[in-house]
């Protein structure tokens, strides 16, 4: 199994159940021979599966979806001339839903990893997903990533971020004591409560958190993990190729005319350079 790069409030059992229940789907080749882009345009609607629990990309504000995904997809919808509708599901259900043809593509985003690239097609990356350290505001004992040596650090179970933290820990004189959480929000709560001194997670997520709670949290620069990126996800099938190409074209265009940088500045507080396409993942 691949490392799931995301938090999830749902247990690992659910994830297994979801995968088990749909395992056969992968081998049967769904009856979706029709070209997906043509279908989306004919319907006038692009349906996107995602989870509203991944700030700053997707989260709930006053009971409604908010975040960077909504704004990026608004641009994609405008360029393709279609309406965009989102479907909120627990993360372990999102990729199976894509394979069952319940939606046209997945937002997320997810870390572009080698294992995932074998099964899915990623869009042009929209953010840097490299792992960094989040600490309590004003904690002078941690000024660089190496300072977590021997200290209690949290991350979420079964994520690529956790794997990177453990790998990084091995390079330190005394490895940190790693505390694993079901999802990242619990680790943030424990950091706030002082039960751990740092949390390791992808830069955009903790940058957003530090931005929304500047009196509580602070990001330790620079990131320590291998450089990885966040991308949206689509099916690898032939029928989805035209749609994914079209979405890629819009994203690359947004990178070059500064629209993506403006959104990054708005949601992460800083701009991030991303390649037009990730052909080989580092992790």
């Amino acid at each position: 199994m691949t490392h799931l790069t995301r938090r999830s409030a749902v247990s690992r059992a659910l994830r297994l159940a979801a995968l088990g229940a749909v395992a056969s789907l992968a081998f049967t080749g769904l009856a979706r021979a029709e070209d997906l882009l043509a279908k989306v345009k004919a319907k006038g609607e692009l349906t996107v599966g995602t989870e509203f629990q991944f700030a700053p990309f997707d989260f709930v504000e006053d009971g409604k979806q908010s975040g960077m995904n909504k704004e990026i997809f608004a641009e994609i919808g405008k360029e393709l001339g279609v309406k965009v509708s989102f479907l909120d599901l627990p993360w372990p259900s999102v990729l199976p839903g894509l394979e069952a043809g319940k939606f046209d593509m997945v937002a997320g985003p997810a870390t572009i990893t080698k294992a995932r690239m074998e099964r899915y097609r990623f869009t042009s990356p929209i953010a840097n997903a490299t792992v960094a350290i989040l600490k309590k505001k004003g904690d002078a004992s941690i000024t660089k990533p190496e300072d977590i040596a021997g200290k209690k650090v949290g991350s979420a179970k079964a994520t690529a971020q956790l794997a990177q933290l453990q790998e990084f820990g091995k390079t330190l004189p005394t490895p940190p004591v790693v505390q694993e959480y079901v999802d990242f929000s619990q680790s943030y709560a424990d950091l706030g409560a002082g039960r751990i001194v740092a949390v390791a997670n992808s830069l955009p997520n903790i940058a957003y958190l530090a931005k929304t709670k500047p009196n509580v949290f602070e990001v330790v620069e620079p990131p320590f993990g291998k450089p990885v990126y966040f991308g949206f996800i689509g099916s690898k099938g032939e029928d989805a190729k035209s749609l994914m190409d079209a979405v890629d074209a819009v994203l690359v265009k947004m990178k070059h005319d500064g629209r993506l940088a403006a959104l990054q500045k708005k949601w992460f507080g800083t701009e991030m350079a991303t390649p037009d396409q990730v052909t080989e993942a580092s992790f």
């Binding site: 159940a17 979801a18 229940a21 009971g63 479907l87 909120d88 599901l89 259900s93 199976p96 943030y188």
Partner: protein, 219 residues
């Protein structure tokens, strides 16, 4: 530390989502009651086929976790060309599942009616149909009322699973708000209190029905 403002701010949204919880669970129980009645009738019938179908139905829907049933209906049925929308998958699966439990609850009720009573009814010249509609069904429902209320409250709680097929309900919204505000304690306590109130109301209705149709007078 405890943020009452967040509760006050989130309460209208949570209440709105809890309406869906109530709608989905009660609709499912209503449909499930019809399924359960049919399956109970099949299970009690003289026909061997009917009993077989009922036994298979009950053992499948009672033996497979509801969560897995939901995932199958939403992600595996498209394979055989049945692509149901989220809400239909949710209500349908909940109803099929509770139908199995209700069938067994009702069967227990029918078996609990004393044979002497039916004999007496036959003696005074009631037809089979009259015996069923006037005596057996009311008595079976009355005898099983506590168990039926029990099953309904279970379904209200079980509806927290339907978010896996993309349906918004109370638990899902609570999770979404909790992870977006980083304040799980207040939100989950509120959500728990709402479930408690919903099930409290169902229990109260059940007690009203129980005292309205007292067993002593029914007998």
């Amino acid at each position: 530390m405890f943020d009452f403002n967040l509760i006050i701010k989130s309460l209208p949204m949570l209440l709105e989502a809890s309406v869906w919880t109530v709608v989905y669970s009660l609709t499912s129980v209503a449909i499930g009651f019809c399924i359960g009645t049919l399956m109970c009738a099949a299970g009690l019938s003289a026909s061997r086929l009917g009993r077989g179908i009922s036994a298979f139905y009950v053992s499948f829907f009672r033996g497979v976790p509801l969560l897995v049933q939901l995932l199958i209906s939403y992600y595996c049925l498209p394979l055989i060309g049945v692509n149901v929308p989220s809400s239909v998958a949710a209500v349908g699966t909940l109803a099929l599942c509770t139908g199995a439990y209700l069938a067994e609850i009702l069967r227990g009720g029918f078996l609990g009616i004393s044979p002497g009573l039916i004999e007496a009814a036959r003696m005074v010249g009631l037809s089979r149909r009259q015996i069923l509609t006037r005596i057996e069904v009311p008595l079976a429902v009355r005898l099983t009322l506590p168990a039926l209320v029990n099953e309904t409250t279970m379904m209200v709680k079980a509806s927290s699973l339907i978010s896996v097929v993309g349906v918004l309900e109370l638990t899902r919204l609570a999770q979404n708000i909790a992870t977006s505000t980083f304040q799980p304690l207040e939100i989950y306590l509120t959500a728990g209190a709402i479930y408690f109130v919903i099930n409290g109301a169902i229990t109260l209705l059940g007690q009203l029905a129980e005292s309205r149709f007292r067993l002593e007078t029914a007998r």
